[in-house]
Subunit: 216 residues, 2 copies
């Protein structure tokens, strides 16, 4: 089931319309953010009347959830592709920034302000852990710095459930987490425009933080 092209014409048409809906949804999100996404406006752009969209997505939330899923998949694919090409941590950091700059609102859809009630479906967290696996591979592969065993690394070694059985040493666990938090910190502030008017080049700050992870 849900076979891409060998399905019935009906299912193919259905998938096609769903894709067109999502295409216009992404355009709206890129233009005005996810909170401004309007099913009515999408319907008008496609050329059908409002309620017709509910044949394809049960609700506005379900559409957004599907977009989140696609965004996670897109980022995971970008990471996997670069990792398969033998990329190191610095290359992954560059990949992350390129992916985020290509569509800032898509980045914020994953890592921006959460809606208090919203609970992410199980499969998105699964894709997120795939991204983490690629990251852990890269962290474990690179030359591990001979840092003294810090308390945080011991703590992470004690609570490595999130690493999903990955056999990375404690310092690699720590590095993967720092990759995430440090790059997200510099990147999200840049994308949110908090650096505009400050004069310096955000790319250089990002590069410096990347170097702080790869150990120069």
């Amino acid at each position: 089931m849900s076979n891409p092209d060998a399905a019935t014409p009906r299912e193919r048409y259905r998938a096609q319309v769903r894709e067109e809906i999502k295409k216009h949804a992404w355009e709206q999100i890129a233009a005005a953010g996810a909170s401004a996404l309007s099913l009515n406006a999408i319907a008008k752009q496609i050329g059908m009347s409002g309620p017709a969209l509910y044949r394809y997505f049960a609700s506005r939330d379900e559409l957004i959830t599907e977009l989140i899923r696609d965004a996670y998949r897109s980022l995971a694919d970008a990471f996997r592709a670069r990792a398969a090409a033998g990329a190191d941590l610095a290359a992954l950091a560059h990949t992350l920034r390129e992916w985020a700059l290509a569509d800032p609102q898509r980045y914020f859809l994953l890592y921006g302000t959460p809606v208090p009630g919203y609970q992410a479906p199980e499969d998105t967290t699964r894709i997120a852990s795939q991204i983490m696996a690629v990251l852990l591979d890269a962290c474990a592969a690179g030359p591990l710095p001979d840092t003294p065993p810090s308390p945080i690394q011991a703590h992470l070694d004690d609570h490595r459930a999130w690493a999903d059985q990955h056999p990375a040493p404690p310092s690699a666990l720590h590095r993967a987490l720092l990759f995430w938090t440090r790059l997200h910190g510099a990147l999200s502030l840049e994308l949110a425009g908090h650096f505009t008017g400050m004069g310096f080049d955000p790319a250089r700050l990002y590069a410096a933080e990347t170097e702080s992870l790869t150990g120069r």
Copy 2:
């Protein structure tokens, strides 16, 4: 003008109602985020009918802008109070986390997903630069590490307009920026719930990042 209590009874009443509106607005934001803020619901809670609120705030956006202003002021006050008590960088880091955990949605109102069209009013950026000034003071006061002069520090030294005439050495500029981006990275991911279910303690990660700034 806008004298707090010595004004006319009319102005006092007006200020009182505005405060009550903002109080309920904060409750709504803490409960469901800023995007779910409803002027109608606030009016109902206060006991007056919808359009009456427009006597106090010209629009929903103006109310939110006022809340952003208050949030910036609150954070700046917390920073200044701790700095006046002789706090170092680590204490400021702790202050930031406490302030954020007290009301995560308030933190996201300042540093969360931006609305593409929205332009922050001039005075909020001024308050933000006051926060940066306190941060630069603390960075310049602490013992500066004898790190080799890195390219990023030279770049920041060349573009120090954002430091607003502050006579901090390049390494302090760099440290202030890292304070911002690294702590925001760890904090925002924690507040957004991206660490839930991962097992480790976000406070320890935050503490470790704080140590990375203070140089242990």
